[in-house]
């Protein structure tokens, strides 16, 4: 397998999310003009290091690329953290 490297993006993005059952799951996000549909939520974790926790999601989009999204619970802002690239 070729090496993986993480490219930091760190930008606010518009996300469609499902809040059913009190559990938030991203469904799609828009970066630039392109909408990425979330094919799978790989992992989710909560970072309580600061006063306002941040929810993190590792997701795979429909193209098979793996992104990391975060939801800042203080202001409900979504940010796209990074993308893991092969090669």
């Amino acid at each position: 397998m070729p090496d993986l490297h993480i490219e930091r993006i760190d930008e606010a993005v518009a996300v469609r999310a499902d809040f059913q059952g009190g559990v938030v799951s991203p469904v799609a996000f828009r970066r630039g003009r392109r909408e990425h549909r979330v094919a799978r939520v790989n992992a989710r974790w909560l970072d309580r290091a600061a006063r306002h926790p941040i929810l993190y999601f590792s997701i795979t989009d429909e193209r098979g690329d793996v992104y990391q999204l975060q939801l800042q619970t203080a202001d409900m802002i979504w940010r796209l953290d990074s993308v893991a690239l092969e090669g």
Binding site: M1, D3, L4, R8, R40, N42, A43, W45, L46, D47, R48, A49, A50, R51, Y56, S58, T60, G64, V66, Q68, A84, E86
Partner: protein, 400 residues
């Protein structure tokens, strides 16, 4: 009868990386920089193990995927696991990838303790996607050792009555407290199993190994009186990092040292412990290393006090005309819960310093450690990536 449950997270860092990126599943994955901090079970099939140099790992397994790791992510996952442990046990002692749960006296609450451990495993898997190995025993040592026999994703128990037979034929290296050096000494005396250690008297073991020899005398008989502490007081708090590029720039080196001291001291303040000893370690680009430690006049968790000792140490150690690869600071020899001890004439300034540090901690608690950058650490701005946890270090070490 005491009942201790040891919970060990299987291939912790590597498994989280495989969870976060499904493309890594089934592949040999290594987490670490310089040496292996954690590797997946697929990598272990190639003979790789924690502590092995990455150069050796690459030679043995060229197809391995090597990642530098994400310490903060691992902490988040560990906290979910330990929260669950705290829900079933009155006292839980946690480390980064393992925990001891004292289940003594909870039989009426849980019923069969082995079934309770199985429920814990199931719950952890559902919540995190991680597998853990659980060992249940009459003391910490036996709980951990019996768990090791069923890794990964295992569950095993041992009764006090079976300890003798369980330990007797095990390799001497498996006994807690026997490291490489002790094992070499014992093997040179033809002591290869835990049972073979028993004929040695407590005096003989103390003469061989000092105070730890007395502990080995008890442990080889399956006895371990160490209790589970609900609040962990670490032996040391280490913060270290490799530079993104080897450097001889004093501003960068001292900036990094100040940053690491700040991180270590903040952890000490969070745990309400104060170190007496400060150590600084440097590793040069050619592999040579240098380390020195000094004692503080009085225990202190204040960044300026610790830095006042650490900076001259680093300056004294950095003597060669070779770039540095790695720098680290270790606080140890802790005093618990003591207010900063000062001499009579320092009392007023120490009080102000204490108030200032508490205020800074408050800001960082609210907005993340990266919200404030102090003094020399400003030289790192623009050179290192930042997130709300502060500068993104290459190989952040974790509290031991």
């Amino acid at each position: 009868m005491a009942a201790i449950l040891h919970v060990d997270i299987d291939a912790f860092f590597a498994t989280i990386e495989q969870l976060r990126d499904p493309r890594l599943k089934g592949k040999p994955v290594i987490v670490g920089a310089g040496c292996i901090a954690s590797c997946s079970y697929e990598a272990r099939g190639f003979g790789l193990h924690a502590g092995m140099a990455l150069s050796e790992a690459r030679r043995l397994c060229p197809e391995a995927v090597i990642l530098e790791g994400h310490a903060q992510v691992y902490r988040c996952f560990a906290e979910v696991i330990y929260e669950r442990c705290r829900a079933i046990a009155p006292a839980v002692e946690t480390y980064l990838d393992e925990a001891y749960c004292d289940l003594t006296g909870t039989e009426r609450l849980h019923g069969d303790l082995l079934a309770a451990a199985a429920r814990l495993k199931r719950h952890i898997l559902e919540r995190t996607g991680l597998t853990v190995t659980c060992g249940l025993g009459p003391n910490r040592m036996l709980a951990k050792l019996v768990g090791k026999t069923s890794k990964p994703d295992g569950l095993a128990a041992i009764a006090a009555a079976d300890a003798d037979a369980f330990l007797r034929d095990r390799p001497i290296e498996q006994l807690a407290g026997v490291g490489h050096t002790h094992a070499r000494t014992l093997r040179s005396m033809n002591i290869r199993t835990i049972g073979a250690l028993r004929p040695l008297s407590v005096e003989a073991l103390a003469a061989l190994f000092g105070a730890p020899g007395r502990m080995l005398y008890e442990r080889c008989r399956g006895r371990d009186t160490a209790v589970v502490h609900a609040r962990e007081i670490p032996l040391s708090i280490s913060r270290e990092t490799s530079f993104h590029r080897d450097t001889a720039d004093r501003l960068e080196i001292e900036g990094m040292l100040e940053y690491l001291v700040g991180r270590a001291c903040r952890t000490a303040r969070e745990l309400d412990i104060q170190p007496r000893t400060v150590a600084v370690r440097l590793r040069y680009a050619d592999g040579e290393s240098a380390a020195q430690e000094r004692s503080l006049v009085a225990p202190s968790d204040a960044d300026p006090v610790v830095l006042e000792l650490a900076l001259p140490l680093a300056r004294r150690l950095f003597t060669r005309r070779v770039a540095l690869h790695n720098v680290g600071v270790t606080l140890s020899n802790f005093v618990a819960g003591a207010a900063e001890q000062v001499t009579l004439f320092d009392a007023a300034s120490a009080g102000r310093r204490h108030a200032l540090l508490r205020a800074l901690d408050g800001v960082r608690d609210a907005y993340g450690h990266g919200a404030l950058v102090s003094g020399r650490a400003l030289h790192l701005k623009g050179r290192l990536e930042e997130d709300r946890h502060g500068f993104v270090l290459r190989t952040p070490s974790l509290t031991r």
